[in-house]
Symmetry: C3
Subunit: 157 residues, 3 copies
Amino acid sequence: MSGAITLERILALQAAYIRCIDNNALESWPDFFHDSCLYVVTSAENHKNGFEGGIIYADTKGMLIDRIAALRQANVYEKQSYRHILGLPHILKNGGDTAESETPFLVVRVMHDGETSIFATGVYHDTTRAVGDDLKFSKRLVVCDSSRVDTLMALPL
Amino acid sequence: MSGAITLERILALQAAYIRCIDNNALESWPDFFHDSCLYVVTSAENHKNGFEGGIIYADTKGMLIDRIAALRQANVYEKQSYRHILGLPHILKNGGDTAESETPFLVVRVMHDGETSIFATGVYHDTTRAVGDDLKFSKRLVVCDSSRVDTLMALPL
Amino acid sequence: MSGAITLERILALQAAYIRCIDNNALESWPDFFHDSCLYVVTSAENHKNGFEGGIIYADTKGMLIDRIAALRQANVYEKQSYRHILGLPHILKNGGDTAESETPFLVVRVMHDGETSIFATGVYHDTTRAVGDDLKFSKRLVVCDSSRVDTLMALPL
């Protein structure tokens, strides 16, 4: 799978990313990003209005590592799990070693007692860059449909 | 991507279609159809009973354009957004320049206050036809699982 | 599509499998499995704790056929339908004629009156084996996120 970025490689990256989160292997999550990267969680309304900030903002892989460490320490939440379901990616640009794509997502939260509800929906706006066989995110903008995004999120999106 | 229809081209078409709707770029929606086309929204029960009509019925691209114009004028709905999540397409027939496929869908509605609920589920029964690099729908039958389909839909499915 | 297992073949198998169930063509469902197979429905908690049993356990195709016969006889449920939405498969190993993959799923239940709710979420842990053009499951472990799995399930997962 070295060389040019293909739809198949993007599908594989997206599937591996959510598997990492839903398996609660959060310590491996930053490895999906290049050292210099942009990871932002924001709302559709903020995004439409051109606000560059977000509910969560990180522009190095180190900040993502710190975030996971903080989540692990602070996590006093009720036991729960998440299930990401991704729709089909739409590739906007593919320059061979860098591509831009958008992928819709739906996240379901399952509480310990089995109660199941929709936690978030939205679109990943991604820039991926391949270095040989390695395809990683240089930018992931998580645009949530709802403005009521939980700022104390117990997991990354 | 010219020549024969492939799974990859069908995936790309499906992803572009829902992106158009969920981005509220409805004026571009009719361009996903050939001039002579069939677009029907119906319920699983009607479909099973062989009724050819539907909640929404259009058999030219011009009718789809009219429908969007009407939606834009009539739209007095509460501010809301939709998120389509598509499952994996199942290709029933692929004759090279014409293909039949079925793709499951789930549509989530997000109200302005953030309330999120399942709006519709069902299957797209599609016939797609390629003219050179252009792959478009010659037929899209939207079969909703529930018989309670909102006839005043604020968006196409 | 003979020869080695590809992502495209796995996508096609997954799409055909849920189409069979959601079309209520349950008599064809066992044909997605090899004669010698393992089909288990269990919860994430049981799975994590290494319990090999499950809510449903079958280790031959004959047991799957029996299960459908029993479902058809016992089915006194309210009229309802299901809609499976699958996420993107993650391929863990691909040895050419045998592959291991994980695919997230979401199942929505639609009651006769139109009431729609999330019925189950989880991950399919699959081993697929190709015999010529035929790709089938030799193992499908259905790991449900919730521990409240309905043991009287009116359909297979």
